[in-house]
């Protein structure tokens, strides 16, 4: 059984709408499962609680629909595997500069070296400086100044040098 055959079988599953297909030939075996996709008409969405989520909850996934888990930002972020994502190690408020009306620690295009401060996250009245761990070029700043960030939220994407 070659890749072409398998591709075709996958097509069969997708189009036919069967949930599972298992083919064994001698010592080769293929098993194809279709994940249950949810097609919800608009009224259904309406009938669902639509919480006015803040940015901090961009990652909150409506159950029973894990498919909707990934938020736009992370999606973009992970879309380019060559980039490194700097995530927030704590919950708090994100500041791009040391004080109001002072320039941001970094801007897109900057080259940063390990240990260089990228931003400040205020947590329980403490200002926590977040430093770069590797050298690289800032490709994206993913959080707006003064916005809250949750644990693991993507803040910067940078291309390592």
């Amino acid at each position: 059984m070659n890749i072409a055959d398998i591709k075709e079988l996958v097509q069969v599953v997708v189009e036919s709408g069967v949930a599972e297909l298992e083919v064994t030939r001698g010592d080769s075996k293929v098993r194809i499962c279709r994940a249950v996709t949810v097609s919800a008409p608009e009224s259904v969405t309406a009938s669902r609680p639509a919480p006015a989520h803040q940015s901090v909850v961009a990652h909150a996934a409506p159950a029973p629909q894990p498919a909707m888990a990934a938020s736009a930002s992370t999606a973009d972020a992970v879309s380019d595997p060559s980039l490194i994502i700097v995530k927030s190690p704590i919950v708090g408020t994100y500041y791009e500069s040391a004080a109001p009306n002072t320039p941001a620690f970094v801007k897109v295009g900057d080259t940063v070296h390990p240990g260089q401060v990228l931003c400040i996250i205020e947590s329980m009245k403490l200002m926590n400086e977040i430093e770069a761990e590797v050298a690289g070029v800032i490709v994206g700043k993913l959080v707006e100044n003064g916005r809250p960030v949750e644990y693991g939220e993507a803040m910067f994407s940078l291309r390592p040098l």
């Binding site: 249950v36 919800a40 009938s47 029973p64």
Partner: protein, 453 residues
């Protein structure tokens, strides 16, 4: 007590009866059409028999198939649920002749109640107020005109054997009467193969209030207070609650006492509901008796603490009401039921199909009656009721806030439901204030149309 019961129904009510049987230690037999092969009542019954194709006339309504299923599974009794064969006196008779106990009133009583004129006479005898109207079937448009003249317009023409709004006509002035009379007769003949019509006073903005009754086969009757079912769409109830916000304790007591006499008088047995209309002045008028358990029975169970379906079975097995109602009945708290239908919330078009995602609300004061499950299917062949959502609170306002919470956490994906409609109704100031009548929903929708247009 019975050893084994066949449930001649489907969906949530079949499951409801199965639950009662399990709690009484009675084995259960489900019957199902080919469309219901994978439904939960088949899943949770001890046995199940396929009785025909999807179309209910050839399955759930087909007496020989149901009786045969009962015979091959050797049951002692049949519970008909509501709808389908539940108020079919012939079916009850076939059960009797086949030596199977029918869980419901005796056929003759069901027939008596089925003919509204007889029911009205019986109630009137016991001093229950009835709508002024023709005391008997109308022989001619002339007779109708004469009676209508004495009662005063508007009047309502109704099919004697009818129900569900078919064969009904509102007459606003004498000139309209002859034409509408003919229409009503034709519709009645078509729907119930009986053209008889009668007329009664038409109340412009009535509340629908009904009383729940249980009567055993030893002559005792209990009335489980009332339910208010005024939130309706085209004579289909949408939201029911108990107690009614419109009834005073005095009115409640007096009606309950009179009904107790009346139902004992007619030799009524098992569960029944006595329906009334309340006019703008708060006066109650009897309209009809439904000789079956009703969709909205859970709100009564919540405020009285009595399991009515268990009660039906115990009574049919010869048990006594005193075993079902141990201490004097009293109302505790308030309960509301929302009928969750598989239909578009604005267009009301039915929405059968596969449920791809489902989250049923739970927690304190919430009861769900449903046969739906994730990946389950709502078939297009039967009514669109996919779940009953019932909440309980220490008072009406807690029951309402709890219902809001439960509706918000009731997630159905893959089909449309009327959950958004229920949310609109529960947010409406008139509903919150208990200012209800059977035109409430139409008014609400007209308001919405105006404000949006």
């Amino acid at each position: 007590m019975f050893r084994k019961i066949l449930i001649a129904n489907r969906g949530e009510i079949a499951l409801r009866v199965i639950c009662a049987c399990k709690e009484l230690g009675i084995r259960t037999v489900a019957v199902y059409s080919e469309a219901d092969r994978h439904s939960l009542h088949v899943r949770f019954a001890d046995e199940a028999v396929c009785i025909g194709p999807a179309k209910s006339v050839r399955s759930y309504l087909d007496i020989p198939s149901v009786i045969s299923a009962a015979e091959i599974t050797n049951v002692d009794a049949i519970h008909p649920g509501y709808g389908f064969l539940s108020e079919n006196a012939d079916f009850a008779e076939v059960c009797e002749t086949s030596g199977i106990k029918f869980i419901g009133p005796r056929p003759d009583v069901t027939r008596l109640m089925g003919f509204k004129q007889h029911a009205r006479a019986a109630m009137e005898k016991a001093g229950i107020p009835i709508l002024p109207g023709s005391r008997s079937i109308l022989q001619s448009p002339e007779e109708a005109l004469e009676i209508a003249g004495t009662i005063g317009y508007p009047v309502l023409l109704k099919a004697a054997a009818g129900g569900g709004g078919r064969g009904m006509r509102i007459v606003n002035e004498p000139s309209e009467l002859p034409g509408l009379f003919a229409q009503a007769q034709q519709e009645a003949a078509a729907a119930f193969s009986c053209p008889d019509v009668y007329l009664e006073k038409f109340i412009l903005a009535p509340r629908h209030i009904e009383f729940q009754v249980l009567a055993d086969e030893h002559g005792s009757v209990e009335v489980f207070f009332e339910r208010e079912c005024s939130v309706q769409r085209r004579h289909q109830k949408l939201i029911e609650e108990a107690p009614s916000p419109a009834l005073t304790p005095e009115m409640r007591d007096s009606i309950c006492r009179k009904l107790q006499e009346a139902m004992a008088e007619v030799g009524y047995t098992n569960a029944g509901t006595v329906e009334f209309l309340m006019d703008e002045k708060g006066k109650l008028y009897f309209i009809e008796v439904n000789a079956r358990i009703q969709v909205e029975h859970p709100v009564t169970e919540y405020i009285t603490g009595v399991d009515l379906v268990k009660g039906q079975i115990i009574i049919a097995a010869g048990g006594r009401l005193s075993d079902i109602v141990r201490e004097p009945l009293q109302i505790r708290g308030h309960s509301i039921e929302c009928r969750i239908n598989a239909e578009h919330p604005e267009k009301f078009t039915p929405s059968p199909g596969r449920i791809t995602g489902l989250n049923l609300p739970g927690g304190i004061g919430v009861r769900v009656e449903t046969a739906a499950y994730t990946d389950g299917v709502i078939p297009p062949f039967y009514d669109s009721l996919m779940a009953k959502l019932i909440t309980y609170g220490r008072d009406r306002s807690e029951a309402i806030t709890r219902m809001n919470r439960a509706l918000e956490m009731f997630v159905v994906e893959g089909i449309y439901t009327n959950i958004p409609l229920h949310q609109k109704i529960l947010a409406h100031p008139d509903f919150i204030a208990g200012k209800l009548d059977t035109h409430f929903l139409v008014r609400m929708q007209e308001q919405a149309a105006r404000s949006s247009g």
